[in-house]
């Protein structure tokens, strides 16, 4: 009942060593308040929020400290009560600078007033649900960080019939979503029903890879009656099953048009973490101030899944997990395939930090990239059916028009080609460089 195997499988895909065993069995542990929190204004896709507090102000937990600055943007709330120490630019995980508010917690963790829980959310209309989500500053927590209130209120003429909960978590090492599904299955289903109501979606699917049997069992068991013919869909374990377009195809067989959005085929995909945050926002009325992040990797003494306030620095998180045992050669915010390497441990976690990965010297290699010998392995594994070998040679010769002709804009930067390339060519960086330049050229035209 409520369980099917995925009938389709997207093209390409690779099987990296998953190393999930490091943190998979560790239950979610709440982290006490650290010494200081660095809350970045750019925790989402779109324009960074504009700060509404200045140095010296005292704030309460859940108080808006950054207003949404436009349609595609999201509000930022104080993760705890305390005083604002500094408002200054800080590097985000991806690299560019964004203003960040440093708060020194006062330890009381008092909530701002005006938190209005609403247990029987069924009485709420679609508009109220979207407003509550927007007020809570919920964004996609899988990694992209697209503001959820925008995703949940598609343009009127589009007709959404299916909601897919993305529980694939195909990125190696990361187990945050897995633990959420095992421990909070019922609440996630409630969140799903809320989103489905906002979208008028008829069927709900939960897509989980078959290397997470307990998660499948937990979600199947917690399936509520009012979810109707909702199904838990078991996907073949393959990276990148978690990519939106590939997951939609695997679950429903529909192909999102290249350059288009999932809503063009009547589907919205929402991460299980985001769904839980929606439940928390609508039912408990609490804005998004904390999230579960997997802190894992060889050098981490006690890898685990940590429920930490937004803005906790990497150093504090690693300290909470027993500090580092052995040399650290690389610090990655996110997973090894799509995460961003960090220069040091000072970076704060944000709404989109699903993992903090520390790698020892033995698993970090600096390669000298060789010319491409057209072996075609990257063409075989590209989930978007592109030709990474030709694209990387065009981009190496700085020929951006032909790269655009060969669909560089459809690249989802999943990293399969670079993972597979025997000549260790920086393929994903070529694609990213190409996409930036094509967008610059389009703007200059």
């Amino acid at each position: 009942m409520g369980f099917i195997k995925a009938k389709y499988n997207a093209p390409g895909g690779v099987h990296p060593a998953y190393h999930k065993d490091l943190a998979a069995e560790q239950p979610i542990v709440e982290m006490p308040l650290p010494a200081s929190l660095v809350v970045s204004m750019s925790q989402h896709l779109g324009k960074p929020a504009t700060p509404t507090v200045k140095k010296g102000d005292s704030v309460l937990r859940g108080q808006v400290i950054g207003e949404s600055a436009g349609f595609i943007s999201a509000a930022v709330h104080a993760p705890t009560s305390g005083t604002v120490k500094l408002v200054a630019p800080v590097a985000t995980a991806a690299g560019p600078q964004a203003t960040a508010i440093t708060i020194e917690p006062d330890g009381e963790d008092t909530w701002v007033e005006g938190i209005s829980p609403c247990p029987n959310w069924q009485a709420l209309g679609k508009k109220e649900i979207v407003e509550k989500i927007a007020a809570a500053g919920i964004t996609g927590m899988g990694g992209a960080g697209f503001p959820t209130h925008v995703k949940v209120s598609p343009p009127p003429e589009t007709e959404i019939d299916t909601l897919i909960l993305n529980g694939a978590e195909c990125e190696p090492y990361l187990t945050a979503d897995y633990r959420l599904m095992v421990e909070k299955a019922a609440e996630i289903w409630q969140g799903a029903l809320i989103i489905a109501k906002a979208l008028d979606a008829k069927t709900i699917y939960v897509a989980i890879e078959d290397n997470k049997p307990q998660a499948i069992a937990a979600m199947q068991e917690a399936l509520p009656a009012e979810a109707g013919d909702a199904q838990v869909v078991e996907l073949k374990t393959e990276y990148p099953q978690g990519a939106e377009k590939q997951q939609i195809f695997a679950v429903t067989g529909r192909e999102v048009p290249a350059g288009g959005l999932p809503l063009n085929v009547g589907i919205v995909v929402e991460n299980v973490g985001t769904t839980l945050a929606v439940w928390d926002a609508v039912v408990n009325g609490r804005p998004l101030t904390e999230r579960v992040t997997t802190v894992t990797g060889g050098p981490v003494a006690k890898p685990g899944n940590v429920l930490a306030r937004l803005g906790t620095t990497t150093a504090d998180m690693v300290e909470f997990c027993g500090g580092t045992s052995g040399a650290v050669a690389k610090i990655i915010s996110g997973g090894p395939m799509m995460g961003f390497a960090q220069a040091d441990m000072s970076g704060p976690t944000t709404k989109t930090t699903s993992g903090l990965l520390l790698l020892g010297p033995e698993s970090v290699h600096a390669y000298e990239s060789m010319p491409c010998i057209s072996c075609g392995r990257c063409v075989g594994v590209c989930p978007m059916n592109l030709m990474p070998n030709e694209l990387s040679q065009f981009l190496e010769a700085e020929d951006y028009e032909t790269a655009e002709e060969y669909n560089v804009m459809d690249c989802i930067e999943c990293g399969c080609c670079a993972f597979e390339c025997p000549a260790h060519r920086p393929l994903v960086q070529h694609m990213r460089r190409g996409k930036t330049q094509v967008m610059i050229n389009r703007r200059n035209q």
């Binding site: 997207a10 377009k245 195809f249 048009p257 059916n385 669909n407 459809d410």
Partner: protein, 312 residues
């Protein structure tokens, strides 16, 4: 790259057993010259040495396998220098050359030194009537001269001759004589995933079908398909030369088209061309067409309209 060298060892052993010191002499000359040429040209171009990727060794061995046993050493050296310097390093080293260096080297030698490149040692054909005919031409050479002059086949292709071709007791270039040794190497490469089956299978199938049609249409003037499969440089070309990743298409469909094209051209040249053996020319011509094949067989982008333009 090491796997390719291991796959070539069986053919090397067979060639040493049949042609003795000549085979060793040529192979060593080619390999050493290729390595030296690559090292010197990389230094001259101020690039990293890069000979540790063993691609020069493979080019040397493959070029040697395409040479007749009695070829003077200096010609082998000239061929190797041409293959490495002109056909590969001039384009910027591994990965940039449009043509297979070993093949281009062999074709250059064939056209520059036609006499030396077509002088073979003795071998006997065990004819069914008991009288072994001694000749100094390759099976294909014999067929070409006989068919063009007398219009009849020079020998009947029966079990005994087939076994000869399989084992390698025949005339020809040092590496191409034994089909069995080459097939052994090919299977090793398939297991080690250095090559995919698409090009060799497509190539051999097209040759078999095309020569089969000719054979059925005109049995007196054409030899059966399995003769064409086992003779000349086909096995060496299909398994080792055509599957060179740098100069062959990237997509699976492209590889099938490439193999088919090579097959048609090989039989075309063997049947009507001026040269007895068409494998080298066929593969070189298909190398030239590979960029167009790559362009034509691009996979449909995920999400692009079916059957429509490739991009959205």
């Amino acid at each position: 790259m090491l796997d390719v060298i291991i796959a070539l060892v069986p053919a090397l052993l067979v060639s040493v057993t049949f042609f003795g010191w000549n085979a060793l002499r040529l192979t060593l000359a080619c390999v050493i010259t290729c390595l030296a040429a690559e090292a010197l040209s990389r230094k001259a171009m101020g690039r990293n040495l890069g000979i540790d990727d063993l691609s020069a060794v493979i080019t040397g061995m493959l070029l040697a396998f395409n040479l007749p046993p009695t070829l003077p050493t200096w010609m082998a050296v000239v061929g190797s220098v041409f293959a490495i310097v002109i056909c590969k390093q001039l384009f910027g080293g591994i990965g940039y050359n449009p043509f297979n260096p070993a093949l281009a080297g062999r074709v250059m030698l064939l056209i520059s030194f036609p006499v030396f490149m077509t002088r073979w040692s003795e071998w006997t054909i065990p004819s069914p009537i008991g009288m072994d005919a001694v000749t100094s031409a390759t099976p294909l050479g014999l067929v070409k001269t006989a068919v063009t002059s007398t219009g009849a086949l020079p020998f009947t292709f029966d079990g005994a001759t087939m076994l000869q071709l399989l084992v390698g007791n025949q005339n020809g270039c040092i590496g191409e004589v034994s089909a069995a040794a080459l097939l052994l190497g090919g299977i090793y490469l398939l297991i080690r995933r250095c090559i995919t089956w698409h090009i060799p299978v497509a190539y051999l199938a097209t040759v078999a079908i095309f020569s089969g049609i000719l054979w059925i249409h005109h049995p007196q003037q054409n030899l059966p398909p399995h003769f064409h499969l086992l003779s000349g440089g086909l096995m060496l070309g299909a398994i080792f030369m055509a599957t060179d990743m740098v100069t062959s298409p990237v997509t699976k469909r492209g590889m099938l088209v490439f193999g088919g094209g090579c097959g048609i051209l090989t039989v075309l040249i063997r049947k009507w061309g001026g040269y007895p053996e068409g494998v080298s020319f066929a593969i070189l011509l298909m190398n030239a067409i590979t960029p167009l094949i790559n362009r034509a067989t691009r996979p449909r982008v995920f999400g692009a309209p079916k059957g429509g333009k490739k991009q959205a």
